[in-house]
Protein backbone atom coordinates (compact mmCIF):
# COMPACT_ATOMS: atom_id res chain seq x y z
CA UNK A 1 0.00 0.00 0.00
CA UNK A 2 1.31 3.41 -0.94
CA UNK A 3 -1.44 5.78 0.23
CA UNK A 4 -1.84 7.10 3.75
CA UNK A 5 -5.63 6.94 3.33
CA UNK A 6 -8.10 5.52 0.84
CA UNK A 7 -10.10 7.96 -1.25
CA UNK A 8 -13.83 7.47 -1.73
CA UNK A 9 -15.92 9.72 -3.96
CA UNK A 10 -19.57 10.34 -3.16
CA UNK A 11 -21.79 12.13 -5.66
CA UNK A 12 -25.35 13.03 -4.64
CA UNK A 13 -27.47 16.14 -5.10
CA UNK A 14 -29.00 15.82 -1.61
CA UNK A 15 -26.75 17.47 0.99
CA UNK A 16 -28.38 15.34 3.73
CA UNK A 17 -27.32 12.11 2.04
CA UNK A 18 -23.75 13.39 1.78
CA UNK A 19 -23.72 14.40 5.43
CA UNK A 20 -25.16 11.10 6.69
CA UNK A 21 -22.71 9.12 4.58
CA UNK A 22 -19.84 11.25 5.83
CA UNK A 23 -20.80 10.49 9.42
CA UNK A 24 -21.22 6.80 8.67
CA UNK A 25 -17.81 6.48 7.02
CA UNK A 26 -15.87 8.50 9.58
CA UNK A 27 -14.66 5.42 11.40
CA UNK A 28 -14.30 2.97 8.50
CA UNK A 29 -10.83 1.47 8.19
CA UNK A 30 -9.42 -0.76 5.45
CA UNK A 31 -6.05 -2.49 5.90
CA UNK A 32 -5.91 -0.34 9.05
CA UNK A 33 -6.00 2.90 7.00
CA UNK A 34 -8.71 5.58 7.22
CA UNK A 35 -11.07 6.75 4.49
CA UNK A 36 -10.92 10.22 2.97
CA UNK A 37 -14.28 11.18 1.58
CA UNK A 38 -14.63 13.53 -1.41
CA UNK A 39 -18.12 14.79 -2.17
CA UNK A 40 -19.82 16.40 -5.15
CA UNK A 41 -23.45 17.38 -5.77
CA UNK A 42 -23.63 17.00 -9.55
CA UNK A 43 -22.12 15.15 -12.46
CA UNK A 44 -20.15 18.26 -13.44
CA UNK A 45 -18.74 18.71 -9.96
CA UNK A 46 -18.06 14.96 -9.77
CA UNK A 47 -15.84 15.21 -12.85
CA UNK A 48 -13.92 18.09 -11.23
CA UNK A 49 -13.37 16.09 -8.05
CA UNK A 50 -12.24 13.03 -10.02
CA UNK A 51 -9.85 15.11 -12.11
CA UNK A 52 -8.24 16.44 -8.92
CA UNK A 53 -7.61 12.85 -7.77
CA UNK A 54 -5.90 11.78 -10.99
CA UNK A 55 -2.34 10.58 -10.66
CA UNK A 56 0.14 11.07 -13.52
CA UNK A 57 -2.25 9.83 -16.23
CA UNK A 58 -5.99 10.34 -16.80
CA UNK A 59 -6.75 6.62 -16.26
CA UNK A 60 -4.95 6.36 -12.92
CA UNK A 61 -6.81 7.65 -9.90
CA UNK A 62 -6.16 7.87 -6.20
CA UNK A 63 -9.89 7.18 -5.73
CA UNK A 64 -10.71 3.51 -5.09
CA UNK A 65 -14.49 3.63 -4.88
CA UNK A 66 -17.20 5.98 -6.14
CA UNK A 67 -20.82 5.96 -4.97
CA UNK A 68 -22.96 7.79 -7.46
CA UNK A 69 -26.57 8.97 -7.36
CA UNK A 70 -28.43 8.60 -10.66
CA UNK A 71 -30.91 11.49 -10.93
CA UNK A 72 -29.13 14.83 -10.42
CA UNK A 73 -28.93 17.71 -12.93
CA UNK A 74 -30.57 15.33 -15.43
CA UNK A 75 -32.40 11.98 -15.11
CA UNK A 76 -29.25 10.06 -16.01
CA UNK A 77 -26.50 12.40 -14.81
CA UNK A 78 -25.03 9.74 -12.51
CA UNK A 79 -24.98 7.07 -15.19
CA UNK A 80 -23.29 9.49 -17.57
CA UNK A 81 -20.66 10.07 -14.89
CA UNK A 82 -20.05 6.29 -14.76
CA UNK A 83 -19.59 6.31 -18.53
CA UNK A 84 -17.23 9.28 -18.25
CA UNK A 85 -15.03 7.39 -15.77
CA UNK A 86 -14.90 4.22 -17.90
CA UNK A 87 -14.96 5.63 -21.44
CA UNK A 88 -13.37 9.09 -21.24
CA UNK A 89 -10.97 8.74 -18.32
CA UNK A 90 -10.50 5.04 -19.29
CA UNK A 91 -10.34 4.07 -15.62
CA UNK A 92 -11.35 0.44 -15.09
CA UNK A 93 -10.02 -0.08 -11.58
CA UNK A 94 -12.28 2.31 -9.67
CA UNK A 95 -15.18 0.37 -8.17
CA UNK A 96 -18.42 2.10 -9.16
CA UNK A 97 -21.66 1.73 -7.23
CA UNK A 98 -24.87 3.42 -8.27
CA UNK A 99 -27.22 4.57 -5.51
CA UNK A 100 -30.62 5.82 -6.52
CA UNK A 101 -33.70 7.17 -4.82
CA UNK A 102 -35.78 6.62 -7.96
CA UNK A 103 -35.21 3.02 -9.11
CA UNK A 104 -38.14 3.49 -11.50
CA UNK A 105 -36.12 5.95 -13.61
CA UNK A 106 -33.14 3.59 -13.84
CA UNK A 107 -34.11 -0.06 -13.16
CA UNK A 108 -31.36 -2.31 -11.77
CA UNK A 109 -31.09 -4.82 -14.63
CA UNK A 110 -31.13 -2.19 -17.35
CA UNK A 111 -28.37 -0.25 -15.57
CA UNK A 112 -26.20 -3.35 -15.04
CA UNK A 113 -26.63 -4.35 -18.69
CA UNK A 114 -25.69 -0.97 -20.05
CA UNK A 115 -23.07 0.34 -17.62
CA UNK A 116 -19.83 -1.23 -16.45
CA UNK A 117 -20.45 -0.83 -12.71
CA UNK A 118 -19.93 -3.09 -9.70
CA UNK A 119 -23.27 -2.73 -7.99
CA UNK A 120 -26.62 -1.01 -7.64
CA UNK A 121 -28.30 0.09 -4.44
CA UNK A 122 -31.65 1.75 -3.98
CA UNK A 123 -31.54 4.30 -1.18
CA UNK A 124 -33.68 1.95 0.90
CA UNK A 125 -31.10 -0.82 0.51
CA UNK A 126 -28.16 1.47 1.22
CA UNK A 127 -28.02 0.91 4.97
CA UNK A 128 -24.94 1.86 6.93
CA UNK A 129 -23.87 -1.81 6.95
CA UNK A 130 -24.23 -2.00 3.16
CA UNK A 131 -22.17 1.16 2.80
CA UNK A 132 -19.52 -0.47 4.95
CA UNK A 133 -19.41 -3.55 2.74
CA UNK A 134 -19.36 -1.62 -0.51
CA UNK A 135 -16.53 0.65 0.66
CA UNK A 136 -14.43 -2.04 2.27
CA UNK A 137 -14.83 -4.79 -0.36
CA UNK A 138 -14.55 -2.12 -3.08
CA UNK A 139 -11.26 -0.77 -1.78
CA UNK A 140 -9.76 -4.25 -1.49
CA UNK A 141 -10.80 -5.19 -5.03
CA UNK A 142 -9.66 -1.89 -6.46
CA UNK A 143 -6.28 -2.09 -4.70
CA UNK A 144 -5.72 -5.54 -6.16
CA UNK A 145 -6.64 -4.75 -9.74
CA UNK A 146 -4.91 -1.36 -9.68
CA UNK A 147 -1.60 -2.89 -8.62
CA UNK A 148 -1.78 -5.76 -11.09
CA UNK A 149 -2.35 -3.30 -13.93
CA UNK A 150 0.20 -0.76 -12.75
CA UNK A 151 2.90 -3.43 -12.69
CA UNK A 152 1.97 -4.60 -16.17
CA UNK A 153 2.18 -0.99 -17.39
CA UNK A 154 5.56 -0.65 -15.74
CA UNK A 155 6.95 -3.72 -17.52
CA UNK A 156 5.82 -2.35 -20.86
CA UNK A 157 7.31 1.05 -20.02
CA UNK A 158 10.67 -0.50 -19.12
CA UNK A 159 11.00 -2.84 -22.11
CA UNK A 160 12.17 -0.28 -24.70
CA UNK A 161 14.83 0.76 -22.16
CA UNK A 162 16.25 -2.73 -21.80
CA UNK A 163 19.16 -1.75 -24.04
CA UNK A 164 21.39 -0.78 -21.12
CA UNK A 165 21.27 -0.85 -17.35
CA UNK A 166 21.71 2.94 -17.17
CA UNK A 167 18.70 3.29 -19.40
CA UNK A 168 16.56 0.96 -17.23
CA UNK A 169 17.65 2.82 -14.11
CA UNK A 170 16.72 6.18 -15.67
CA UNK A 171 13.34 4.83 -16.77
CA UNK A 172 12.66 3.40 -13.33
CA UNK A 173 13.42 6.75 -11.68
CA UNK A 174 11.25 8.61 -14.16
CA UNK A 175 8.36 6.18 -13.55
CA UNK A 176 8.67 6.63 -9.77
CA UNK A 177 8.74 10.40 -10.17
CA UNK A 178 5.60 10.42 -12.35
CA UNK A 179 3.81 7.94 -10.07
CA UNK A 180 4.09 10.43 -7.23
CA UNK A 181 2.70 13.45 -9.08
CA UNK A 182 -0.89 14.46 -9.69
CA UNK A 183 -1.98 15.09 -13.27
CA UNK A 184 -1.52 18.81 -12.58
CA UNK A 185 2.11 18.13 -11.68
CA UNK A 186 1.91 18.68 -7.90
CA UNK A 187 3.43 16.24 -5.42
CA UNK A 188 0.80 13.73 -4.27
CA UNK A 189 0.97 14.20 -0.51
CA UNK A 190 -0.98 11.04 0.30
CA UNK A 191 1.71 8.76 -1.16
CA UNK A 192 3.81 7.86 1.84
CA UNK A 193 5.61 4.71 0.78
CA UNK A 194 9.33 4.22 0.34
CA UNK A 195 10.82 1.63 -1.98
CA UNK A 196 14.12 0.66 -3.52
CA UNK A 197 15.87 -1.81 -5.81
CA UNK A 198 19.20 -3.37 -4.87
CA UNK A 199 20.58 -5.38 -7.78
CA UNK A 200 23.52 -7.78 -7.55
CA UNK A 201 24.38 -6.13 -4.23
CA UNK A 202 24.26 -2.56 -5.52
CA UNK A 203 21.70 0.14 -4.72
CA UNK A 204 20.15 1.09 -8.06
CA UNK A 205 17.03 3.22 -7.55
CA UNK A 206 14.67 4.26 -4.81
CA UNK A 207 11.70 6.48 -4.05
CA UNK A 208 10.28 8.23 -1.02
CA UNK A 209 12.63 8.12 1.98
CA UNK A 210 14.86 5.63 0.24
CA UNK A 211 16.05 7.74 -2.70
CA UNK A 212 19.64 7.01 -1.82
CA UNK A 213 21.41 3.98 -0.53
CA UNK A 214 22.49 4.76 3.05
CA UNK A 215 19.34 4.37 5.15
CA UNK A 216 17.79 1.89 2.70
CA UNK A 217 20.73 -0.49 2.83
CA UNK A 218 20.70 -0.39 6.63
CA UNK A 219 17.03 -1.42 6.62
CA UNK A 220 17.77 -4.08 4.01
CA UNK A 221 20.45 -5.59 6.26
CA UNK A 222 18.04 -5.58 9.22
CA UNK A 223 15.38 -7.36 7.14
CA UNK A 224 17.91 -9.87 5.82
CA UNK A 225 18.65 -10.85 9.44
CA UNK A 226 14.99 -11.84 9.98
CA UNK A 227 13.49 -15.21 9.04
CA UNK A 228 12.29 -15.30 5.42
CA UNK A 229 9.71 -17.39 3.56
CA UNK A 230 10.01 -19.20 0.23
CA UNK A 231 7.71 -18.55 -2.74
CA UNK A 232 5.92 -21.57 -4.22
CA UNK A 233 8.51 -22.03 -6.94
CA UNK A 234 12.26 -21.58 -7.25
CA UNK A 235 14.60 -20.10 -4.70
CA UNK A 236 13.07 -16.63 -4.40
CA UNK A 237 12.23 -15.51 -0.87
CA UNK A 238 10.37 -12.77 0.99
CA UNK A 239 10.44 -11.22 4.44
CA UNK A 240 7.64 -9.24 6.09
CA UNK A 241 8.27 -7.04 9.11
CA UNK A 242 5.35 -4.79 10.02
CA UNK A 243 4.82 -2.48 7.04
CA UNK A 244 8.12 -3.46 5.48
CA UNK A 245 8.53 -6.05 2.76
CA UNK A 246 11.70 -7.46 1.22
CA UNK A 247 11.50 -9.68 -1.86
CA UNK A 248 14.63 -11.44 -3.08
CA UNK A 249 14.91 -12.82 -6.61
CA UNK A 250 17.62 -15.49 -6.71
CA UNK A 251 20.27 -14.93 -9.41
CA UNK A 252 20.19 -17.49 -12.24
CA UNK A 253 21.04 -17.81 -15.94
CA UNK A 254 17.92 -15.72 -16.80
CA UNK A 255 17.53 -13.54 -13.73
CA UNK A 256 19.69 -10.93 -12.03
CA UNK A 257 19.79 -11.10 -8.22
CA UNK A 258 17.27 -8.45 -7.24
CA UNK A 259 16.32 -7.26 -3.77
CA UNK A 260 13.17 -5.14 -3.78
CA UNK A 261 12.22 -3.38 -0.60
CA UNK A 262 8.95 -1.63 0.16
CA UNK A 263 7.95 0.29 3.25
CA UNK A 264 4.22 0.67 2.71
CA UNK A 265 1.48 2.36 4.68
CA UNK A 266 0.10 -1.01 5.84
CA UNK A 267 1.29 -4.61 6.15
CA UNK A 268 1.40 -6.12 2.65
CA UNK A 269 -1.48 -8.55 2.06
CA UNK A 270 -0.59 -11.88 0.38
CA UNK A 271 -1.79 -10.76 -3.02
CA UNK A 272 0.49 -7.72 -2.96
CA UNK A 273 3.56 -9.88 -2.30
CA UNK A 274 2.48 -12.29 -5.04
CA UNK A 275 2.00 -9.52 -7.65
CA UNK A 276 5.32 -7.85 -6.84
CA UNK A 277 7.03 -11.22 -7.15
CA UNK A 278 5.61 -11.78 -10.64
CA UNK A 279 6.67 -8.32 -11.70
CA UNK A 280 10.17 -8.66 -10.22
CA UNK A 281 10.79 -11.89 -12.13
CA UNK A 282 10.14 -9.93 -15.34
CA UNK A 283 12.20 -7.00 -14.12
CA UNK A 284 15.21 -9.12 -13.18
CA UNK A 285 15.10 -10.87 -16.57
CA UNK A 286 15.12 -7.47 -18.30
CA UNK A 287 18.08 -6.38 -16.20
CA UNK A 288 19.97 -9.55 -17.06
CA UNK A 289 19.25 -8.93 -20.73
CA UNK A 290 20.57 -5.35 -20.65
CA UNK A 291 24.19 -6.20 -19.83
Amino acid sequence: MHLSEFNVVLVDDEPDVLEVSRLAMRHFKVYGLPIKLHTATSKAQGIEVLNSLTLGRPDISMASVALIDVVMETDHAGLELCDHIREVMKNRTMQLYVRTGQPGVAPERAVLDRYDIQGYLSKVEATEDKLYTVVKAGIRQSSYVALSHALQDLVRYLIPHATSRESITQALREWQRLARLTLAGAKAETIRSALCYVIDGEFVAGAGDWQDGGEALKRRDALLALPSQAFNEGEDRFTVDGNELLIQIAPSAQNAGVQYMLRGTATSPDWEIFLYHRYLRSFSALWKLAC
Binding site: R92, P107, E108, R109, L112, D113, D116, I117, Q118, G119, Y120, E125, D129, K130, Y132, T133, V134, K136, A137, R140, Q141, Y144, V145, S148, H149, L151, Q152, D153, V155, R156, I159, P160, A162, Q254, N255, D270, W271, F274, R278, Y279, R281, S282, A285, L286, L289
Partner: protein, 289 residues
Amino acid sequence: MYQKEWEILVVDDDPDMLAVTRLATRPIQVYGVPLKVHTCASMAEAVALLNTKADLLPALAVALIDVVMETDTAGLDLCRFIREERRNPLTQLFIRTGQPGLAPERAVIDRYDVNGYFTKAEATDDKLYSMIKSGVRQYYWSAFALGVLHMVRGVNEATGSRAAIANFLQQALEAAFAERTGSPVASYANVNCSFIFGDEVVANVGWSPAQALAARDELDRSAQAVAIGSGGDSYTIDANHRLLVKASTPPGGMPVCAVSTPTFRVPEFVPAVISHSLACYAASWQASR
Protein backbone atom coordinates in the same frame (compact mmCIF):
# COMPACT_ATOMS: atom_id res chain seq x y z
CA MET B 1 -12.23 -15.45 -24.82
CA TYR B 2 -13.20 -19.04 -25.53
CA GLN B 3 -15.70 -19.53 -22.71
CA LYS B 4 -18.90 -21.21 -23.82
CA GLU B 5 -20.21 -20.79 -20.26
CA TRP B 6 -19.21 -18.94 -17.08
CA GLU B 7 -18.64 -21.19 -14.06
CA ILE B 8 -20.76 -20.24 -11.03
CA LEU B 9 -20.95 -22.03 -7.67
CA VAL B 10 -23.93 -21.82 -5.31
CA VAL B 11 -23.57 -23.34 -1.84
CA ASP B 12 -26.62 -23.59 0.43
CA ASP B 13 -27.98 -26.30 2.71
CA ASP B 14 -31.57 -25.43 1.79
CA PRO B 15 -32.50 -27.42 -1.35
CA ASP B 16 -35.27 -24.93 -2.13
CA MET B 17 -32.78 -22.07 -2.20
CA LEU B 18 -30.61 -24.02 -4.64
CA ALA B 19 -33.60 -24.76 -6.88
CA VAL B 20 -34.83 -21.15 -6.83
CA THR B 21 -31.34 -19.82 -7.54
CA ARG B 22 -30.97 -22.18 -10.49
CA LEU B 23 -34.22 -20.91 -11.93
CA ALA B 24 -33.40 -17.26 -11.34
CA THR B 25 -29.92 -17.51 -12.88
CA ARG B 26 -30.92 -19.61 -15.89
CA PRO B 27 -31.62 -16.69 -18.27
CA ILE B 28 -28.57 -14.64 -17.23
CA GLN B 29 -25.85 -14.11 -19.81
CA VAL B 30 -22.66 -12.08 -19.56
CA TYR B 31 -21.09 -10.87 -22.82
CA GLY B 32 -23.72 -13.10 -24.44
CA VAL B 33 -22.29 -16.22 -22.76
CA PRO B 34 -24.60 -18.31 -20.49
CA LEU B 35 -23.81 -19.57 -16.99
CA LYS B 36 -22.95 -23.05 -15.80
CA VAL B 37 -24.24 -23.28 -12.24
CA HIS B 38 -22.78 -25.86 -9.84
CA THR B 39 -24.67 -26.40 -6.59
CA CYS B 40 -23.45 -27.86 -3.30
CA ALA B 41 -25.36 -28.44 -0.06
CA SER B 42 -22.46 -28.00 2.38
CA MET B 43 -18.94 -26.71 2.75
CA ALA B 44 -17.64 -30.29 2.69
CA GLU B 45 -19.39 -30.94 -0.61
CA ALA B 46 -18.00 -27.72 -2.10
CA VAL B 47 -14.45 -28.50 -0.96
CA ALA B 48 -14.78 -32.03 -2.39
CA LEU B 49 -16.01 -30.61 -5.71
CA LEU B 50 -13.13 -28.10 -5.91
CA ASN B 51 -10.61 -30.80 -4.97
CA THR B 52 -11.81 -33.48 -7.39
CA LYS B 53 -12.49 -31.12 -10.28
CA ALA B 54 -9.09 -29.45 -9.93
CA ASP B 55 -9.55 -27.10 -12.87
CA LEU B 56 -12.84 -25.67 -11.68
CA LEU B 57 -11.54 -23.14 -9.17
CA PRO B 58 -9.28 -21.17 -11.55
CA ALA B 59 -12.27 -20.85 -13.91
CA LEU B 60 -14.81 -20.11 -11.18
CA ALA B 61 -16.09 -16.59 -11.75
CA VAL B 62 -18.59 -16.16 -8.93
CA ALA B 63 -19.48 -18.12 -5.78
CA LEU B 64 -22.63 -17.44 -3.82
CA ILE B 65 -22.23 -18.89 -0.35
CA ASP B 66 -24.60 -19.46 2.58
CA VAL B 67 -23.02 -19.09 6.03
CA VAL B 68 -24.75 -21.48 8.44
CA MET B 69 -24.60 -25.02 7.06
CA GLU B 70 -22.93 -28.01 8.76
CA THR B 71 -21.50 -25.54 11.29
CA ASP B 72 -22.37 -21.94 12.18
CA THR B 73 -19.43 -20.67 10.12
CA ALA B 74 -19.19 -23.33 7.38
CA GLY B 75 -19.68 -20.80 4.55
CA LEU B 76 -17.09 -18.42 5.97
CA ASP B 77 -14.65 -21.31 6.35
CA LEU B 78 -15.24 -22.07 2.66
CA CYS B 79 -14.34 -18.46 1.77
CA ARG B 80 -11.15 -18.79 3.76
CA PHE B 81 -10.39 -22.09 2.05
CA ILE B 82 -10.71 -20.44 -1.38
CA ARG B 83 -8.73 -17.29 -0.56
CA GLU B 84 -6.07 -18.56 1.82
CA GLU B 85 -5.59 -22.27 1.33
CA ARG B 86 -6.12 -22.29 -2.44
CA ARG B 87 -4.72 -18.75 -2.79
CA ASN B 88 -7.40 -17.66 -5.22
CA PRO B 89 -7.87 -13.86 -5.22
CA LEU B 90 -9.95 -13.80 -8.43
CA THR B 91 -13.24 -15.60 -7.82
CA GLN B 92 -15.86 -13.08 -6.69
CA LEU B 93 -17.25 -14.32 -3.38
CA PHE B 94 -20.69 -13.24 -2.19
CA ILE B 95 -22.17 -14.21 1.16
CA ARG B 96 -25.91 -14.89 1.27
CA THR B 97 -27.13 -15.67 4.75
CA GLY B 98 -30.50 -16.44 6.32
CA GLN B 99 -29.19 -15.75 9.84
CA PRO B 100 -27.45 -12.39 9.81
CA GLY B 101 -27.46 -12.51 13.62
CA LEU B 102 -24.93 -15.35 13.58
CA ALA B 103 -22.66 -13.63 11.05
CA PRO B 104 -23.18 -9.86 11.15
CA GLU B 105 -22.26 -8.00 7.98
CA ARG B 106 -19.46 -5.85 9.36
CA ALA B 107 -17.79 -8.67 11.26
CA VAL B 108 -17.82 -10.81 8.11
CA ILE B 109 -16.42 -8.07 5.88
CA ASP B 110 -13.71 -7.26 8.45
CA ARG B 111 -12.52 -10.82 8.81
CA TYR B 112 -13.08 -12.37 5.38
CA ASP B 113 -11.95 -11.22 1.97
CA VAL B 114 -15.38 -11.41 0.33
CA ASN B 115 -16.80 -9.14 -2.36
CA GLY B 116 -20.29 -8.67 -0.98
CA TYR B 117 -22.80 -9.64 1.69
CA PHE B 118 -26.56 -10.07 1.43
CA THR B 119 -29.20 -11.38 3.75
CA LYS B 120 -31.62 -13.77 2.06
CA ALA B 121 -34.25 -11.02 2.30
CA GLU B 122 -31.98 -8.58 0.45
CA ALA B 123 -30.93 -11.06 -2.23
CA THR B 124 -33.76 -10.44 -4.68
CA ASP B 125 -33.65 -11.73 -8.25
CA ASP B 126 -32.50 -8.29 -9.36
CA LYS B 127 -29.69 -8.34 -6.79
CA LEU B 128 -28.66 -11.81 -7.96
CA TYR B 129 -28.57 -10.46 -11.49
CA SER B 130 -26.31 -7.54 -10.50
CA MET B 131 -24.06 -9.73 -8.42
CA ILE B 132 -23.47 -12.23 -11.20
CA LYS B 133 -23.19 -9.75 -14.01
CA SER B 134 -20.73 -7.41 -12.27
CA GLY B 135 -18.99 -10.38 -10.61
CA VAL B 136 -18.29 -12.17 -13.88
CA ARG B 137 -17.04 -8.98 -15.53
CA GLN B 138 -14.72 -8.22 -12.64
CA TYR B 139 -13.46 -11.81 -12.50
CA TYR B 140 -12.90 -12.03 -16.23
CA TRP B 141 -10.95 -8.80 -16.41
CA SER B 142 -8.66 -9.69 -13.48
CA ALA B 143 -8.17 -13.31 -14.55
CA PHE B 144 -7.40 -12.33 -18.13
CA ALA B 145 -4.90 -9.65 -17.12
CA LEU B 146 -3.19 -11.91 -14.61
CA GLY B 147 -2.90 -14.74 -17.14
CA VAL B 148 -1.26 -12.38 -19.62
CA LEU B 149 1.13 -11.08 -16.93
CA HIS B 150 2.26 -14.69 -16.48
CA MET B 151 2.99 -14.99 -20.21
CA VAL B 152 4.89 -11.69 -20.28
CA ARG B 153 7.05 -12.86 -17.41
CA GLY B 154 7.79 -16.18 -19.13
CA VAL B 155 8.74 -14.47 -22.40
CA ASN B 156 10.97 -12.01 -20.57
CA GLU B 157 12.76 -14.89 -18.93
CA ALA B 158 13.21 -16.66 -22.27
CA THR B 159 14.73 -13.56 -23.88
CA GLY B 160 18.01 -14.28 -25.65
CA SER B 161 16.77 -17.26 -27.64
CA ARG B 162 13.95 -16.97 -30.20
CA ALA B 163 13.48 -20.73 -30.06
CA ALA B 164 12.98 -20.52 -26.28
CA ILE B 165 10.44 -17.67 -26.63
CA ALA B 166 8.47 -19.54 -29.28
CA ASN B 167 8.60 -22.69 -27.19
CA PHE B 168 7.37 -20.91 -24.06
CA LEU B 169 4.48 -19.22 -25.91
CA GLN B 170 3.46 -22.51 -27.48
CA GLN B 171 3.54 -24.35 -24.12
CA ALA B 172 1.67 -21.54 -22.37
CA LEU B 173 -1.09 -21.53 -25.01
CA GLU B 174 -1.47 -25.31 -24.91
CA ALA B 175 -1.54 -25.32 -21.10
CA ALA B 176 -4.16 -22.56 -21.03
CA PHE B 177 -6.67 -24.63 -22.98
CA ALA B 178 -6.01 -28.08 -21.49
CA GLU B 179 -6.88 -29.43 -18.07
CA ARG B 180 -4.14 -31.01 -16.01
CA THR B 181 -5.21 -34.37 -17.37
CA GLY B 182 -4.42 -33.10 -20.87
CA SER B 183 -8.04 -33.13 -22.07
CA PRO B 184 -9.49 -29.86 -23.40
CA VAL B 185 -11.13 -27.50 -20.86
CA ALA B 186 -14.82 -28.40 -21.00
CA SER B 187 -16.13 -24.85 -20.67
CA TYR B 188 -14.10 -23.66 -23.71
CA ALA B 189 -15.11 -23.89 -27.35
CA ASN B 190 -13.75 -22.73 -30.69
CA VAL B 191 -10.14 -22.44 -29.49
CA ASN B 192 -7.97 -21.08 -32.30
CA CYS B 193 -5.22 -18.65 -31.45
CA SER B 194 -1.91 -17.63 -33.00
CA PHE B 195 0.88 -15.17 -32.40
CA ILE B 196 2.39 -13.97 -35.67
CA PHE B 197 5.70 -12.06 -35.82
CA GLY B 198 6.32 -10.73 -39.34
CA ASP B 199 4.96 -13.60 -41.43
CA GLU B 200 6.11 -16.28 -39.02
CA VAL B 201 3.49 -18.07 -36.91
CA VAL B 202 5.46 -18.33 -33.68
CA ALA B 203 2.87 -20.07 -31.53
CA ASN B 204 -0.36 -21.67 -32.62
CA VAL B 205 -3.26 -23.72 -31.25
CA GLY B 206 -6.37 -25.05 -32.99
CA TRP B 207 -6.24 -24.11 -36.66
CA SER B 208 -3.20 -24.55 -38.95
CA PRO B 209 -0.58 -21.80 -39.35
CA ALA B 210 -1.81 -21.29 -42.93
CA GLN B 211 -5.38 -20.75 -41.68
CA ALA B 212 -4.08 -18.30 -39.07
CA LEU B 213 -2.24 -16.25 -41.70
CA ALA B 214 -5.32 -16.32 -43.95
CA ALA B 215 -7.54 -15.13 -41.08
CA ARG B 216 -5.12 -12.33 -40.31
CA ASP B 217 -5.05 -11.13 -43.91
CA GLU B 218 -8.82 -11.38 -44.21
CA LEU B 219 -9.44 -9.38 -41.03
CA ASP B 220 -6.82 -6.87 -42.07
CA ARG B 221 -8.65 -6.26 -45.36
CA SER B 222 -12.29 -6.56 -44.33
CA ALA B 223 -13.21 -4.81 -41.12
CA GLN B 224 -12.43 -1.40 -39.70
CA ALA B 225 -9.46 -1.28 -37.31
CA VAL B 226 -10.03 0.47 -33.98
CA ALA B 227 -7.12 2.32 -32.35
CA ILE B 228 -5.98 1.30 -28.86
CA GLY B 229 -4.53 4.32 -27.04
CA SER B 230 -2.41 6.72 -29.07
CA GLY B 231 0.69 4.57 -29.56
CA GLY B 232 -0.35 2.97 -32.85
CA ASP B 233 -1.82 -0.32 -31.54
CA SER B 234 -5.12 -1.41 -33.04
CA TYR B 235 -7.69 -4.20 -33.14
CA THR B 236 -10.30 -5.53 -35.54
CA ILE B 237 -13.38 -7.64 -34.74
CA ASP B 238 -15.51 -9.11 -37.52
CA ALA B 239 -19.14 -10.30 -37.55
CA ASN B 240 -18.11 -13.76 -36.29
CA HIS B 241 -16.30 -12.21 -33.30
CA ARG B 242 -12.91 -13.08 -34.81
CA LEU B 243 -10.25 -10.85 -33.30
CA LEU B 244 -7.04 -9.43 -34.73
CA VAL B 245 -4.80 -7.37 -32.44
CA LYS B 246 -1.78 -5.52 -33.81
CA ALA B 247 0.87 -3.90 -31.67
CA SER B 248 3.09 -1.07 -32.77
CA THR B 249 6.80 -1.77 -32.77
CA PRO B 250 9.72 0.66 -32.93
CA PRO B 251 10.70 1.91 -36.42
CA GLY B 252 12.37 -0.90 -38.35
CA GLY B 253 10.72 -3.54 -36.14
CA MET B 254 8.63 -6.30 -37.64
CA PRO B 255 4.84 -6.15 -37.35
CA VAL B 256 3.43 -8.38 -34.58
CA CYS B 257 -0.14 -9.55 -34.15
CA ALA B 258 -2.41 -12.05 -32.43
CA VAL B 259 -5.35 -13.56 -34.27
CA SER B 260 -8.05 -15.70 -32.68
CA THR B 261 -11.65 -16.91 -32.79
CA PRO B 262 -13.35 -15.95 -29.50
CA THR B 263 -16.78 -17.38 -28.69
CA PHE B 264 -18.18 -13.92 -27.95
CA ARG B 265 -17.56 -10.32 -28.92
CA VAL B 266 -14.79 -9.49 -26.45
CA PRO B 267 -15.00 -6.25 -24.45
CA GLU B 268 -12.49 -3.52 -25.27
CA PHE B 269 -10.08 -4.37 -22.47
CA VAL B 270 -9.24 -7.73 -24.05
CA PRO B 271 -7.52 -6.32 -27.17
CA ALA B 272 -5.94 -3.62 -24.98
CA VAL B 273 -4.34 -6.20 -22.68
CA ILE B 274 -3.29 -8.34 -25.65
CA SER B 275 -1.65 -5.46 -27.52
CA HIS B 276 0.22 -4.62 -24.36
CA SER B 277 1.63 -8.12 -24.09
CA LEU B 278 2.42 -8.29 -27.82
CA ALA B 279 4.64 -5.23 -27.49
CA CYS B 280 6.49 -7.00 -24.69
CA TYR B 281 6.91 -10.18 -26.74
CA ALA B 282 8.11 -8.19 -29.76
CA ALA B 283 10.78 -6.41 -27.71
CA SER B 284 12.05 -9.72 -26.34
CA TRP B 285 11.98 -11.22 -29.82
CA GLN B 286 13.98 -8.33 -31.30
CA ALA B 287 16.58 -8.67 -28.56
CA SER B 288 16.98 -12.39 -29.24
CA ARG B 289 18.46 -14.49 -31.98
